[in-house]
Amino acid sequence: MSERLELDTVGLHVLHNALANIAAEMALVMMKTSYSTIFNEGLDFSTVLLDARGNLIAEKNFTPSMMGAIPNTVAWTLEEFGEEFFGPGDVVVHNDPYRGQCHLPEHMMMKPIFRDGELIAFSGAIGHVAEVGGKAPGSFAADATDVYQEGLRLPPVKLLEGGEHVEQVWRIVLANHRTPTNTWGDFHAMIGALNVGERRLLELVGRYGTATVTEGASRLIDYSEKRLRAEIADLPDGAYAAEMSVEDDGVSAAPFTVRAEVVVRGDEVIADFTGSSPQVRGPMNCTFVVALSAIYNAVFCVTDPDALIPRNSGCYRPVRIIAPAGSVVNVVHPGPSVGGNTDLQPKLIDLLLAALSQAVPERVAASSGGSSSNLLFGGTHPETGRYYSNYHFDGMGAGGTALKDGNDAEVTRHSNCRNTPVEVFEHRYPLLTLDYGMVTDSGGAGRHRGGLATTRTLRVLAPEITFSALFDRSRIAPTGLFDGLPGKGSELLVRRAGEAEFKTFQEAFGVASPTKFTNVVLHRGDEVRYRTPGGGGFGDPRERDPEALRADLEDAYISAAAAEHDYRGVDPEAGTR
């Protein structure tokens, strides 16, 4: 006998919180049980519940870049294979960028949840698996020219069937990832999260009844749609266009273009990317769902920045997209896409916000640093003799807004990830962190300045380490908005042991791009120093509050020379004499 839950406003609120808490508990399982720092420190994953048709009903969305992929991977798998494909105890994995995934490292796992023989929901976990094979340790080949160089591609296949490991599939996966022990642990952390999601949802339907919970979830989706449509209807109707150049694709030195027109039409938004460059040869292409995540992100930023509307599939319905297949925002087979997710997506969000700045200038930000600043390395650990590999990212500057300065040292807003503490980093990998800090003068000047970039210097402690990197915005700096100045661009340098000077990787190794390269071999004593990009400034720097300028000078966020040059006419001592 189940308890009665009235599906009125209060009852729906209770149900929403119950579902959201299940997703949050699933996330804790992944944090506490995963092997890789990208999960337990970086939090580069999301955990969700979906209904039987693949509609998102609740999430613990650490990583907004996964918004587009989550409902689509499940819905498309359902359409391609049918409901009969799924049985009790099954777990399906999916990382195919051409079938709804963000890029090859992103793995979506889905588990069907049955009650009395009826499929009632799915629990889902999606995360960036740190090593999935391919040409470069860390599976982030910045000069890849096709998907096969990026790692092992899995169309939807079962990892568990009826609760049992599908051994043949596991054997293929583990033979193709460089660090199979980590994959084993991380995959099981994801499966553990799915199991907890299943158990808790079954407890919930046991308490309130299947019909009440599924009907309530469906009403929550309708409620979110209605609320978001009302917010969009408040935006001024119109077509708002913006265009940007991206400096290179890792393979050729030529820049490419992304064009976006954001059309506000009553209570819906259309993001039209027609006119963007054809897909590029290197891995800076976005998949369809990444472009989708970018417009969701931009729309949520301007309509519901405090996430007061329950985040579920209802929020996605008023947002439409035109992302031409075969363009840089919708890669088709066999184009590579690993950097499209991490380094084009944040810039797509900036671009969409720049377009929307024409409609709602008070709700947008200037360009962020726009690069996840991906550093990958691997080799044999001298102390353990075991092969290791790591995917590392660092914070950059966020763009200034109408209300405040951009956040400093923040990992990109599409990823929302955390950095890895130096102590954890040094414990696991044979690299010594010589310095790590924020960069003076890296935030673009403005009434509200851009956030500061970070810098780090690493010394190799092993006989040999294989390094790869995918950074961006070294030559095309993050732009300011409304007379704000650009942020400082990124830089990657290397100093070989015994040499006096740092050089670019182009000078030292002859790579094609200064910020995107693969499999450079460094040796003991070599040092890598990098700087992420800073955020763009918002508004005229001459309008900056003198007190804020004085605080920046005291904190060495800006230098006296930059204060003199960029903030001419603002007296930092005003009011103190």
């Binding site: 689509n72 079938r99 439409r320 997209i321 035109i322 297949a325 363009s327 088709v332």
Partner: protein, 68 residues
């Protein structure tokens, strides 16, 4: 809506992926096929036919389609 659903005839070992001619979305098993004025277009849904005539044609003109 002038279109109709047309399933793909594909075997499981065919790895081709088809994208919507209007929005770019993956079409897993069946397309909404309609006449876009300059040939047949394969869309992911009737909603994309609506988007095509209400937005794409007035904004960009007709999309050349295949004769499928």
């Amino acid at each position: 809506m002038s279109g109709n659903w047309q399933p793909f005839e594909r075997s499981w070992h065919d790895t081709e992926v088809v994208n919507c001619d209007v929005c770019g979305r993956l079409i897993p098993t069946r397309a909404w096929v309609f006449d876009g004025g300059e040939g047949q277009l394969r869309a992911c849904s009737p909603e994309c036919e609506e988007l095509y005539f209400s937005y794409v044609v007035p904004r960009h003109g007709e999309t050349p389609g295949g004769r499928r």
